[in-house]
């Protein structure tokens, strides 16, 4: 070993002689590292952080191979009315088409359903039962007959009959609320029209009402029309990060302009590509901001702790240089960082400064004792160097062992942290002494400045605990056992989405869409080989209680037999004869119309009453009813609502003759347009095939070569709950193991990382144990080091659940880190104890360095906990603060008592 050998003296001589060259080479390497670092890619895609053979990843890659890019940008517009939202959406789509970046990067911009397709095939897409209902509604297209038929249909569908519509699921609630919103628009528009019945308004309202009732809505609104959604399909994969950033930035400029020109309107951008771009920013921020904060806080700590502040500034400079060199190493070897490795700089600040503290602390102490530069540096290498090297090497070994993992993210983390520790260690042992010696002031530093914190309490603590060793050991054992019982309460966050940046615009957008639409923005996907297979899987997924919506080619292409039955009904509808006759309105018809409006209100009120049976009180149908009409408490009336139906009735009855005239003008357009639309709809005379589906719809359902089909299933917003998400993924993947997507990949990644981190930690522990035994050549010291480490780990994972801290796939990496840090603490104390022979002296010399190391590490990781952007980084930071804190307390209390056991001279007299 170094101690007592020629190595420390030789090393010190070389560093002193070559100090200028060392500084020049160090600066050059650091500069080169920064330069090379600009080319490092940030990899945040979950699938790229998984073992390649993982089924969810394999299936995802199959889908990408078959469909090309699966990336989507979702644009969500919230505004005061349908009209405003449509106008804003149209403006955005138009600007996107004319923007060079967005236009060249887009495969399609789907703002509206293809109306020609809906007009041609719309009826054939309806189920036979619904067609029979529609047949009743479409027989007469004059306004009075139509509203009467609609009431008959409600009373048949929801309130009575064999085909009684059940209202006991989110999907059915959505449909009912959607229907109520359509009714609300109908009566509100009608009332507005009756207030000022201009012929032009009659024409436009008649057409729009007829289109809404026959062709359907062209835009995708939520059931309550609070938000309009449309999608933009990029023509390139998310992996092209620079292009993704440019694309999303260009879109953000467009949407911001749209918001400016329409005050009161909010536009959100969501989807996997936007989220990836936001994650890039968060990853970059976590690489820089917590690091800067940590350096600043460590500087303040040094200000209070050291006489020779200049030396500690050199330590910080060396640390930064070491990190810059490591950036170069990463750029030359890996070329990328991922969600795990992005915060490596903070890890190195927390761990690497420790080496500098030991070097500077010892060197300045020896210089103040009167030793010259060579003697002081040789003594530093001899007495502190061994512990620094053992601590550094064991920590780096703990990280390198992670490279045996089959998980590429963990492998990368192991490499980055392992090489990073070595790079910083070498920098601290070579570059730092060169800097300190070269720029050491001529006048001796001692006595020039008294540190505010002397850390003199540490030897006293050591003395006290050793004298009360049995009490301390008993207390430590009790605390350890108590905390061990808390460990099972530790929760693991499987949802990768919850460990990303929580305040990013993409997350805000997604949360808002989830709120409004009630479904998760993360679909499950499965690639199947035939339409029949797609149908079967769609049906199975639709029946799952946590599925909100399923989309596949089967929605558009029904089985031949079913299509023939639908065509038969449509043929009968074709022979219904003239759909309207005389459109003159008299007082009797006006009164009948007012009655039908009243009936419409009754039906909606009763539908909301019945919804309580399946959906419980306060459900969305009831809420919508209470808003549209009034709050209903049995036979009594609660809070007033908009009374949309009563207001229309009042408008109709205000002047029956005026209403008759206005309704006749409206009916002339409405009845004709409805009849025209229905004539077009019933003209369909053959089954639909895949080839009939327009590209805008087909490209999301059928692969370009037509050989495979995509089934897309959106879970309900309930999967935002961790347990529901795990249950959902387990159940849908048991329906079909080919199901993949963000949620299955997220779960698979968490499960894999958890298992890999646990086994890697065991390997690291074994490797460290071997190193310790070889270094100490004493089983006792190796065992004591490992025992104090184990106690620290139990305290960490016992305290975490008590303080509400969870573990996720990133913060699981805390285990190897704590193993490395905890070992380093114990190594320093044990090594000094072996040299000095008693605890008090060992703590007098090494205590300050251990204490400061712990504080700087806690500051380094604490900065992540407090200003980290990624939730995972925050969790990692909190766990490390806890872990290092526990390790420090164990090292200065439990370890001294253990060392004193069986020792005659544990403390000096």
């Amino acid at each position: 070993m170094m101690r007592g050998s020629w190595i420390p003296g030789t090393a010190a001589r070389i560093v002193l002689r070559q100090r200028i060259w060392i500084i020049i080479v160090g600066a050059a390497l650091a500069t080169g590292g920064v330069f090379l670092g600009t080319g490092i890619a940030m990899q945040s895609q979950a699938k790229d952080m998984m073992p390649p053979g993982t089924p969810a990843v394999r299936e995802f890659e199959r889908i990408q191979d078959a469909f090309g890019s699966t990336a989507t940008v979702v644009v969500a517009v919230e505004g005061s009315s349908d009209h405003v939202m449509i106008e804003v959406a149209e403006e955005i789509a138009d600007a996107a088409i004319h923007d060079p970046v967005v236009a060249s990067g887009s495969r399609s911009i789907n703002i509206e359903v293809d109306r020609d397709f809906a007009r041609q095939w719309g009826l054939l897409l309806q189920e036979a039962d619904d067609l029979r209902t529609l047949d009743g509604q479409y027989r007469r297209t004059d306004l009075l007959s139509f509203i009467r038929a609609m009431n008959d249909s409600f009373e048949g569908e929801y309130l009575a009959g064999d085909g009684q519509e059940k209202l006991d699921s989110d999907r059915e609630a959505d449909e009912a609320v959607g229907m109520m919103t359509t009714m609300e628009s109908f009566v509100t528009d009608l009332r507005e029209y009756l207030r000022d019945p201009l012929p032009t308004r009659a024409a436009s309202l008649g057409r729009s009402l007829a289109d809404a009732f026959s062709i359907g809505e062209g835009y995708t609104f939520d059931p309550e029309h609070r938000m309009l959604l449309f999608s933009i399909a990029p023509a390139f994969p998310i992996d092209e990060l620079d292009r993704s950033v440019e694309f999303v930035q260009a879109l953000r400029s467009i949407t911001e302009e749209a918001e400016r020109s329409h005050p009161g309107t909010t536009v959100y951008l969501a989807g996997d590509m936007v989220q990836t771009v936001d994650e890039q920013e968060a990853l970059s921020a976590d690489l820089l901001i917590p690091g800067l904060l940590a350096v600043a806080l460590i500087f303040v700590l040094f200000l209070f702790s050291f006489r020779q502040l200049r030396s500690m500034l050199f330590a910080l400079a060396t640390l930064i240089a070491g990190i810059c060199i490591e950036i170069g190493v990463i750029a030359l070897t890996l070329g990328e960082l991922n969600i795990l490795t992005s915060s490596f700089a903070v890890v190195l600040i927390g761990l690497g400064i420790d080496f500098g503290i030991h070097v500077v602390s010892n060197y300045t102490d020896y210089r103040s004792e009167g030793k010259d530069e060579l003697e002081a540096l040789a003594a530093t290498y001899g007495k502190a160097g061994v512990a620094v090297i053992i601590g550094g090497v064991t920590t780096s070994v703990a990280f390198f062992v992670l490279m045996v993992s089959s998980n590429p993210a963990i492998t990368q983390f192991g490499f980055v942290a392992g090489t990073g520790i070595l790079t910083v260690l070498i920098s601290m042992l070579v570059l730092l002494p060169a800097l300190v010696v070269t720029f050491e002031p001529k006048r001796r530093a001692d006595g020039t400045r008294r540190p505010i914190l002397s850390y003199g309490f540490l030897p006293r603590v050591g003395r006290a605990v050793v004298r009360r060793r049995w009490a301390v050991l008993g207390l430590a054992a009790a605390v350890t056992v108590a905390l061990a019982f808390q460990i099972p309460k530790l929760t693991f966050i499987y949802d990768v989405l919850k460990i990303g940046p929580q305040d990013a615009p993409a997350i805000t957008a997604q949360n808002r869409i989830v709120d409004v639409f009630g479904l998760s923005p993360y679909p499950s996907l499965a690639l199947v080989d035939s339409i029949d297979e797609a149908r079967l899987l769609s049906e199975e997924l639709s029946n799952h209680s946590l599925t909100a919506e399923v989309a596949s080619i089967a929605d558009l292409v029904a089985p031949k037999r079913e299509q023939q039955e639908r065509l038969r009904i449509i043929r009968e509808m074709r022979t219904d004869g003239p759909r309207y006759g005389s459109l003159s309105w008299d007082a009797k018809q006006v009164a009948e119309f007012a009655y039908e409006v009243q009936r419409l209100e009754w039906n909606l009120v009763e539908i909301a009453d019945l919804s309580v049976a399946g959906l419980g009180e306060g459900n969305r149908i009831q809420t919508k009813r209470d808003e549209m009409v009034r709050e209903v408490i049995g036979a009594e009336v609660g809070e007033p609502g908009d009374e949309v139906f009563q207001k229309l009735i009042v408008a109709i009855e205000a002047s029956e003759s005026r209403a008759a005239e206005a309704l006749a003008a409206l009916d002339a357009v409405f009845a004709a347009r409805m009849s025209e639309n229905i004539t077009a709809l019933v003209a369909v005379d053959r089954p639909i095939t895949v080839e009939d589906i327009p590209n805008s719809l087909r490209e999301d359902l059928v692969s370009p070569d037509g050989s495979s089909f995509l089934v897309t299933s959106y879970p309900t917003d309930a999967v935002a709950r961790e347990d529901a998400m795990v249950q959902y993924v387990e159940e849908v993947t048991s329906i079909d193991p080919r199901i993949t997507g963000t949620l299955p990949i997220s779960i698979a990644m968490s499960v894999n990382t958890l298992a890999e981190a646990q086994s890697a930690s065991l390997y690291a522990l074994a490797a460290i144990a071997v190193i310790l035994v070889l270094t100490y050549r004493s089983l006792r010291y190796a065992a004591l080091s490992l025992v104090s480490l184990a106690v620290g780990v139990v305290w960490l994972f016992g305290l975490a659940p008590l303080l509400g801290v969870s573990v996720d796939l990133v913060s699981m990496m805390v285990l190897p880190l704590i193993i490395g840090i905890g070992t380093a603490f114990s190594v320093h104390l044990i090594e000094r104890y072996r040299i000095e022979g008693d605890i008090e002296t060992a703590l007098r010399y090494s205590g300050k360095a251990i204490f400061l190391s712990a504080l700087t590490t806690m500051i380094g990781f604490g900065s992540l906990a407090f200003v980290g952007s990624m939730a995972a980084a925050v969790s990692l930071g909190m766990l490390l603060v806890l872990g290092v804190g526990a390790g420090l307390v164990v090292t200065v209390t439990v370890l001294p008592t253990l060392l004193s056991l069986g020792s005659k001279r544990a403390v000096s007299r």
């Binding site: 009575a160 049976a613 209903v632």
Partner: protein, 255 residues
Amino acid sequence: MKEKKRNWTSPRATIAMLVMALLVVATNAVGQDAQDILQQVDSRQPTGTSRIELTMSVYRRAEDQVATREFRVHSYSDGDESTYMEFVEPKSIRGMRILSNDEASWVFFPSTGRARKIAGESQGQSVQGVGGDFSYEDLGGGKLAEDYTARLLSDDGQRWRLEGTPVEEDSSYTRLILTVQKDSYRLESIEYYSGSEHTKTLTLENYETADEYPTPMRMTMTNHNEGSKTVVENHSVEYRADVSAQYFNPRRFYR
């Protein structure tokens, strides 16, 4: 599914009342075959009118502690013929009434003052939506011995386990497994099977005597397919009650 009409069936019967119909007071019985046991169960059914106050709690997941929805109902029954239910809670449908007999159901909405006739439902459907995991068939009254061919599966000294195979072909279930206490002829549980799949389990607990009839005050139907459960708790049960005929008249029940 073809509509099943049986003269004993009251497909719109109230949850509690018709489950009650499956339950009997017990006397000791020894040495009986399976069909005899069912007949003993049947022979102790309460007949005539009844008045029950009950709460039905529907749980989306069987392990949940808090019910997704809860209904408090006053129910009046005239044997297996007719059942009248009036909702007390939740407040938004307070006063809603449902009358059911062999022919149809009628609903009265206090919110609009309208009464509407509702056509028959299939046996497997939840009772007017408020039945939670209880379907019409689960609540079907009548004689077990007439509707099921019984086979004794086991006898552990305390209770019999019987397998009942439906006589009618249009049943939603292929078989039931009934657990009957030997000393009292009380039903402890009914397991429902569709094909080889165990779809539901009804457990009957907290027996109390009401007008000489031991009555389970708590019944839990666990739906294994949906992972949900529905709990019915009776607060008061009165048999041979003085119930006005108006409640069972489709033209007058809502007045």
